[in-house]
Amino acid sequence: MHFKVQAACATLLPRFWPGIPRACGGPGLALIIESVSKSMTAGVRRSVVAAAMAATLVGGCASGDTGAAEVWDPIETPNRFVFAINRTVDMIAVRPLAVMYRDGVPEPAQKSVRNLLDNLGEPVTAINEVFQGDPSRAATTMARFLVNSTLGLAGLFDVATMLGMKRTKTDAGQTIGIWAAKGVEPENGGFYLMLPLAGPSNARDATGLMIDYAIDPFQILPIALNVDWFYYSAPRYALTVVDYRSRTMFALDDLEKNSVDYYAALRSAYTQNRAELIRAKREKTDTKSELERRDNIALVR
């Protein structure tokens, strides 16, 4: 199947996008994911690698078009179904909660919650920054974590930013995107996937989510210390959902109101956003191809 995909990609070569032949499939991606996953436990590793291998082998031609590539969505019908369920749950439960949170909870409290959740996510960010080849940033992130956890009262106050350490956030999906083989465009994240509750994702980012979950010390520790799910995981993830929903409410409402097909608009917006995050990091080493890409898009338009 891998070879058929490659052959199909070769014939669809558009004139103005020289990177196309290598953008299909991505055996390099699989190798990188394998090496990253070697550090994990066997059970997790198997499932993660299986997912990643599946994603890369059926990588397909997300960029068969010229200029604006349509996001590759082979499982569109199940995705739309999950999306419909997500929207219903959102409308009934999550959104009203987020609105109550945004309007009812005082602003400093909301900030503290956000700082707390961000602080819990700093170790994962630091680990990913190391894998992205940015050890100085990883050191800053760990310093932020230490300062905020102690001086900032377990992360409620963002003392580190006041001390000049800027906050960065990254995840394993971006790490995979950065390490992908040179011809794989950041827009190409594998097949599009609508996750229940978690929302839009793709093969690369879903793999990233699983990796992040597996390496998160604040997920491993409570289990090791036998802390009941009810006292730690449930409040943490509930707060994350509500906080995230209240933050993205404006953008998502805007997108929903002004699109004729919300699913497609969200799919496009998500893919572009993720690509931008990855491109910003790859750009440091890849400026020439980025400018070429922009020139090519201008030509095609």
């Binding site: 602003e107 699109s259 004729v260 497609a264 496009s268 201008a298 338009r301």
Partner: protein, 201 residues
């Protein structure tokens, strides 16, 4: 006397020639940045002086029509389907899409709460394109990265795209419209009907 008149004539001719020469110079890099800044200023003025409603929407639509290249953006948003549409359909589409965009921007800008737009680097690209980076300050959190695409097609610089944190408005609309067209039999007519019904609301 004749000599003075001659000199004055020569002087005015020289000034005229200089002015003419300046006006045929290619658009300098300052123009696109100025366009962005003036657009932002105009919009802020409108938001301050009007209440949300049809009047504000009409004002913002005017700003969009002068500063953005709406027909070009509409054509881009239709993508490959532009060639399949008839002339009448194209006109109707552009009109309906324009009204929809104006309403969308009117509502978005209505949320404006005193943020400042800082215009940054201007990068000239091939084909008369300029990419302008800018930042919109936020009251809480990181500033939002906005990237403007300005194109000079002979009628002066016009904005042709805005990318908010990497999400291009035109690309998103293109995906949106394309998906709608595909799921409604591949013709542009249902899309136009939908846009017109939304504009009429």
């Amino acid at each position: 006397m004749l000599l003075l008149a001659c000199r004055r004539v020569v002087l005015s001719l020289a000034v005229g020639a200089a002015a003419a020469a300046l006006s045929v110079l290619p658009a300098s890099a300052a123009d696109p940045a100025q366009l962005i800044q003036s657009t932002a200023t105009e919009v802020i003025e409108i938001i301050k002086k009007t209440t949300p409603g049809p009047a504000r929407q009409a004002d913002i639509q005017r700003v969009l029509q002068t500063n953005f290249d709406l027909p070009y953006m509409g054509q881009q948003a239709l993508g490959a389907n532009w060639n399949k549409a008839s002339e009448a359909e194209r006109t109707r589409f552009l009109k309906a899409a324009e009204t929809a965009e104006a309403r969308a921007y009117s509502e978005r800008f209505g949320q404006y709460g005193g943020q400042t737009l800082t215009v940054g680097k201007v990068t000239p690209r091939a084909n008369g394109l300029f990419i302008i980076d800018s930042q919109l300050s936020q009251t809480s959190g990181q500033p939002i990265k906005l990237q403007w695409e300005v194109r000079d097609a002979g009628r002066g610089p016009r904005i042709t795209d805005v990318k908010v944190e990497g999400v291009s408005m035109v690309m998103t609309r293109r995906s949106d419209f394309n998906s709608y067209i595909q799921s409604h039999g591949g013709s542009v007519e249902p899309l136009i009907a939908e846009l017109e019904s939304r504009a009429a609301r």
